[in-house]
Symmetry: C2
Subunit: 158 residues, 2 copies
DNA sequence: AGCGATTATATTGTATGCAATGAAATGGGT
DNA sequence: ACCCATTTCATTGCATACAATATAATCGCT
């Protein structure tokens, strides 16, 4: 009986939450986004809006497709999000004159000003997370390695 | 002029996407959930429904709060999700007689049968991800270390 | 027994995410 | 110039997530 139990447990052991890599990844990502909330609330931004602003602060002018490639998001997510950022006055949306299909996104002075408030956020988050710097570095390397593999796989599918 | 540019870049460097740990974490988690989709579609499960079934396959009988603690989810997410799993016939929802506040969730024979189909999924995913086993192990360790820190922090807030 | 505090779910509102589809603009080949 | 394939964005439908609030049941204290 005991032996049967063991055999039976073996059979399903791969389905245990603690034997999966995907679960801590999923849970960590949620926890991080949740932890950002109080800091981003001061800027009137959600996490996704925040990372969208981050790429725009760097590039100043991008179309929706380019933003989506940076953030791994599609138009179904970005279209309403960008409209919201426009409502808040942080960005402008306007069609390209050379190619009317392109919706160009650019930062407003208000959006640029927000950047000065946002610089405090990464430091506050780091302090709040209190993650060992070496661990953070390893995690960073491993996650990007993983992400590159995903990218490759996606390109193959095309 | 060049010097000013460098100074100006320095000021905002912490806001660059590639200098953040949160972003690859967020992106990886999304990619993994997306990668699960084709395999889980065969079982008529979404990713969240899948991990919910995983804890139930182990514990057989749990209330909503316990499931939420395992998965870091609250009733706002779980209530509709559990109703859907009930509709699909994989679980039963019934109030505890000792304490009517508790909604007990248990697996149906159909839900139990699904487990035999699900055992194939982790292997298929592993093959699909093609992640170096050592990297997977490091990632696992680091993510749980991180998750434990989050857990601690949450407990402090109470 | 009575009642205020606590606990467990449910509900509501807001914001993602993504697949699938639609619509408009552009490009390429004839 | 014309037509068809491609590209870019928008829309729709479905499924999460989570904060805030509501509701019902139970507990603790007197």
């Amino acid at each position: 009986m005991d032996k049967e139990m063991n055999v039976s447990q073996e059979k399903y052991s791969c389905l245990r939450l603690e034997n999966q890599l995907c679960f801590p990844l999923y849970a960590c990502a949620k926890e991080v986004v949740r932890s950002y909330k109080p800091f981003l609330a001061r800027l009137d931004l959600t996490y996704t809006q925040y990372i969208t602003m981050m790429v725009l602060w760097e590039r100043k002018q991008m179309n929706v497709k380019e933003i989506g490639e940076c953030l791994y998001l599609d138009s179904g997510t970005l279209t309403p999000l960008l409209k919201k950022l426009e409502q808040k006055g942080f960005i402008r949306r306007h069609r390209s004159k050379e190619d009317e299909r392109n919706l160009l996104i650019s930062i407003t002075p208000e959006g640029e000003a927000l950047r000065d408030e946002a610089v405090a956020v990464p430091g506050e988050m780091k302090a709040c997370m209190s993650l060992d710097p070496e661990d953070a570095a390893s995690l960073y390397t491993l996650l990007y390695k993983f992400l590159d593999k995903c990218q490759e796989r996606r390109n193959l599918d095309k």
